[in-house]
């Protein structure tokens, strides 16, 4: 077993455990957000192992840095109490959701080995900033520009929604 495979299993285990911690933690929303940070950071480690260096950096900056900070900010702004969620009445349907999800996952993992195409060797510099930037600003420059409109619309929408009253 090589070192990179060992690291992959480590990061995968951390990602899965902290993702489960996020979903199962019903007491403290800030702790759930911290679990989300752990998942994002270990996924950044997996991206490094998969030769996606720029994506790994952006994952740390945008997800762990910006998005989760926004979540924590809102949780602390709203000052939620832990008694805001009385026990659920729909235990049966939720248990059914978990069981069906587990069944679909099991079927998927059984089918998976025969479905994947053979892997190709990657060229030198694959996933570095130079290769990604050349691809992004030549072939995919129009989608990149359209993304800026999306972000503008999101900024305006967030400001309008969070405003107390529209004049």
């Amino acid at each position: 077993m090589t070192t990179s495979l060992l690291f992959f299993y480590f990061f995968a285990a951390v990602a899965l455990i902290s993702a489960l911690g996020m979903v199962l933690n019903t007491r403290n929303t800030v702790a759930a957000a911290m679990c989300l940070v752990a998942t994002m950071l270990s996924l950044a480690g997996v991206y490094l192992l998969l030769d996606a260096y720029l994506i790994a950096a952006i994952q740390v900056l945008v997800y762990a840095g910006a998005i989760v900070v926004l979540f924590v900010f809102v949780v602390m702004l709203l000052n939620l109490r832990s008694d805001a969620f009385p026990p659920s009445r729909q235990v049966l349907s939720k248990a059914l959701a978990v069981v069906l999800g587990g069944y679909v996952m099991w079927r998927f993992l059984k089918l998976l080995p025969g479905m994947l195409p053979p892997e190709k060797p990657i060229p030198a510099g694959f996933g570095g900033y130079e290769a990604v930037a050349i691809e992004l600003f030549t072939r995919w420059v129009l989608p990149f520009e359209v993304t800026s409109f999306l972000l503008l619309a999101a900024i305006v929408g967030a400001v309008v929604l969070a405003k107390r009253r529209l004049d």
Binding site: A19, I55, G101, L150
Partner: protein
Amino acid sequence: MIPLQHVIALSAALFLIGLVGAVVRRNLIVILMSIELMLNAVNLALVGFSRAQAQLTGQIFVFMVIAVAAAEVAVGLGILISLFRNRDSVNVEDVSLLKW
């Protein structure tokens, strides 16, 4: 060399955890976090396939997904704050007006 099969299995497991979280939990903030987790799982699958096919298009698509995720969080938390101001709650069972 990490087998693609393991990457896709991890991605599927993370997506499933996110999906169950989005269906089962009632805290709107945690539901938004679960949606983020699902988007991350999709990103992981895209990066894995991008390396297996030796094409950078998958990584470009991950950029777009991250931009969409950032926009979604900004608007989603804006909706959440406005909802909390009107209903004084982030429980999804209190805002089931459009549910059949």
